[in-house]
Assembly symmetry: C2
Homo-oligomer: 132 residues x 2
């Protein structure tokens, strides 16, 4: 009799499109998407609580964010998925996520590497302060 | 000769529609509105930095917010202006405001009276935390 330790069996390698899990139904069922299939994602530095930017996600962007733990948006101007920091290196490591009461916005806690803004600023709101 | 101290002259009372200032051009020119004339407003408690909710404004809502210093939104479901707390008393006193780098989102610092959420929670994100 041949004894096989199941831990030594290599897992079957599936194509990526099959092996990554779908967006959990517990989240997908609660999301309210706009007419373009998008919802807002507020990005907040997890420890200082500074709000860094507002981005947009679709289901696939959120699924990839949860899977990779790097924040991924859907770029409305470029009409494609966009891993934050994919060219600049200024990535956002996922730390927490919360859906709002009516399901159309996410609050995403991150560890932001360097500046969140394409201008180099730490926050996209740094340069636009209005003095009341 | 009759000497008149100009400070004693009562100002002419204009109808409200004429006497309130328009949205300053410095802001109006930078705003990028969506196809419904709206932009996002992230509401943050000014001292704790807790993010309380995401709402939507049009130019008139922002003008009223700046004028009255109480946050006013445009309700997408009711298709009308909505002074936050107009029925509950849970108003948001304006403390600061900043426009983001591409002009389609505002970060609004407030003093939130009681809960921001219609459920009674302090924040609209309190009940929807996902555990990663």
């Amino acid at each position: 009799m041949l004894l096989v330790d199941s831990r030594q069996i290599s897992p079957v390698v599936e194509p990526v499109s099959k092996s990554v899990p779908p967006l959990p139904a517990a989240i997908a069922d609660k999301l309210k998407r706009d007419e373009h299939g998008l919802f807002a994602a507020i990005i907040q530095q997890h420890d200082t609580k500074d709000v860094l930017m507002l981005g947009w996600m679709n289901d696939e962007a959120l699924r990839l964010t949860l899977l990779t733990r790097q924040v991924t948006f859907f770029s409305r101007s470029r009409q494609r998925l966009w891993v934050k920091g994919e060219t600049s290196g200024h990535v956002q490591h996922l730390r927490s996520i919360a859906l709002d009461c009516d399901g159309d916005a996410l609050l995403v806690g991150v560890e932001q590497i360097d500046g969140a803004c394409h201008t180099g600023d730490r926050s996209c709101f740094d340069a636009g302060k209005l003095f009341l």
